[in-house]
Amino acid sequence: MTPFARTALGLALAFLYAPILVLIVYSFNDSKLVTVWGGFSTRWYAILFADGPLIAAALVSLKVALLSAGIAGVLGTLAALALDRHGRFRGRGAYTGLLYAPMVMPEVITGLSLLLLFVGIGLDRGIGTIVIAHATFATGFVAVVVGARLKGLDRSLEEAAADLGASPARVFFGITLPLIAPSVAAGFLLAFTLSLDDLVIASFVSGPGATTLPMRLYSQVRLGVNPEINAASTLMIATVGLVVLAASWLTARRGA
């Protein structure tokens, strides 16, 4: 690598990681002020673990993420199969557009319009409506991830199975699904993360009693920097870091 490329890369990575590093470091700061280092302390973590509403919100978020990622995983995989396997069916362009549009749609629009629908049809707002909303915008992401894998899949594998007498169902569950399973899992994980991350859409469509973690964090963040939020963030970052490490270790081991 040239010195120029090395510098560019270094700066970009520093830019990406500096704020995260600041968060982590100051979550252990005894002082409540960001600029003052008051010594190492874990007291914000103690406060965090005693914060009942925050923990309740985290549980709501987990529930919503699991359910919506499950729905998006199924719908996205089906959509990817339709696009890859059904050839040039009529309305294919519109189908693709409808699938991808929620991915780039500003969240304020998705959130507002879904809320208006839910109110219009008289659906009670709560965890269920957040699940529906998250599944809707995550389906496209799953379809993209699974679709990429399907595109790379040798079609003659499925033809070989059919040729050897396997029924379409046996071909799908015995050959296709096991071969695309890693991408379905990756799509599920992506949908899960997107759901955990969403503030805007959930704010629109949630009802009383359904406060997600981002909604809870946002209500505190608006009031300014708060070391307890730093501690919560550090825990979330550590979890993601562990998951990413485990995933890359697993893939590396399978590759060997």
């Binding site: 040798d154 003659s156 594998l157 033809e159 070989a160 199975a161 059919a162 040729d163 050897l164 007498g165 396997a166 029924s167 379409p168 046996r170 071909v171 050959i175 096991p178 071969l179």
Partner: protein
């Protein structure tokens, strides 16, 4: 040498089958009968429709017209998994998430075999393709030749009467390919399974096939044993596909008793066999090794030329001879058996034996 006709009950009967992809006709009214135990090669350049024809037999494509019968039973409407034919794929299509044994045994489900019978069948097949000891290996740990053998064993597991092979040796390197050709033939003879092999490699088709069918732009243009196709090609395309050939343009003389005709060419009159209307524009096809170069003075029809290039190839000599009118003919191993080799630039005589010359439409 008439082509051996298939016996009265063909194993495979293809009747005027047609497949179109949009505006393009991939397979155009092909009819073909295959005898039991026959090895039939579909030969042609890429895009000629040979793979599509194979996929039509396997059931991966639905024909727009025509019918396919196996042992008299109509297969045309059956999905691939209900057809009693099996296919060996060009990419081998080995299931990457299954062991060698699981791959080979995949097709045994639903045949009504007991667990023990199935295991015996798999063991027998693995022995047949000499892969003992590799049963629990994953396909990605095998060499190309080993994968090819797993694919063959897997395709034979259901004991099909007809096996379809799509470029079965295409992924192997040259030396391995020749060795594998022999093995494939030996296994085929032992089992008596009918083979339909798709290939673009003429040498491979000649080495494997009882009969070859040449395809050109979706049509089956000539069918017969390799030697028939080589010596009596039906068209310039077949002549060129089967091997090197000299093509001399001319005009066909009148019909004569005895089958031989005279063709007026820029080189002079050439005697050749073939049909056509008197006065039609034709080409005379002559294989380079059938040209008689030198030592033929005085024979009727002897032509004069100049040697412009001679390449020593060990078992033969390949040469290029420029004729009086500027036409360049290619000859092979047709130098005098004794005496000195004529040098480049020397005058030589060239004779075209009548039994080596074929009249083809231009």
């Amino acid at each position: 040498m008439p082509a051996p006709l298939p016996p009265t009950a063909p194993l495979l009967g293809i009747e005027r089958i047609t497949k179109r992809f949009g505006p393009q006709t991939a397979v155009d009214g092909v009819s073909l009968d295959l005898a039991p135990g026959e090895v039939f090669c579909l030969l042609g350049p890429s895009g000629c429709g040979k793979s599509t024809l194979l996929r039509l037999i396997a059931g991966f494509e639905t024909p727009d017209a025509g019918a396919i019968r196996l042992d008299g039973a109509d297969l045309t409407a059956l999905p691939p998994h209900r057809r009693p034919v099996n296919m060996m794929f060009q990419s081998y299509a080995l299931f990457p998430h299954m062991s060698v044994a699981a791959n080979v045994g995949y097709g045994l489900k639903g045949l009504g075999l007991s667990r023990k019978q199935a295991a015996e069948r798999v063991a027998g097949l693995i022995k047949l393709v000499r892969l003992e000891g590799f049963e629990s290996r994953r396909p990605e740990t095998l060499s190309g030749g080993q994968r090819q053998r797993v694919a063959l064993a897997r395709a034979l597991a259901r004991e099909p009467k007809l096996l379809l092979l799509d470029e079965p040796l295409g992924a192997l390197d040259r030396t391995l390919r020749e060795e594998t050709q022999g093995e494939l033939r030996a296994i085929q003879r032992r089992l008596g399974t009918g083979f339909v092999v798709v290939t673009h490699d003429t040498q491979e088709a000649m080495a494997l096939a009882d009969r070859i069918g040449v395809m050109e732009r979706g049509r089956l243009v000539q069918v017969g044993p390799a030697r028939d196709l080589y010596e009596r090609p039906a068209s310039r395309f077949v002549a060129g596909l089967l091997g090197d050939v000299n093509l001399i343009e001319g005009r066909l003389g009148p019909d004569e008793p005895g089958g031989l005709r005279t063709v007026e060419t820029a080189l002079g009159p050439i005697r050749a066999s073939g049909e056509g209307a008197a006065g039609a524009a034709v080409v005379v096809a002559v294989r380079p090794e059938r040209l008689v170069v030198g030592g033929a003075d005085g024979l009727p029809g002897t032509l004069q030329g100049t040697l412009v290039e001679a390449t020593f190839l060990g078992d033969r000599i390949r040469s290029r001879i420029r004729m009086a009118d500027g036409t360049v003919l290619r000859a092979s191993a047709a130098l005098p058996a004794t005496g000195p080799m004529p040098g480049v630039g020397e005058a030589v005589t060239v004779a075209i034996p009548a039994d080596a010359a074929r009249v083809l439409s231009a």
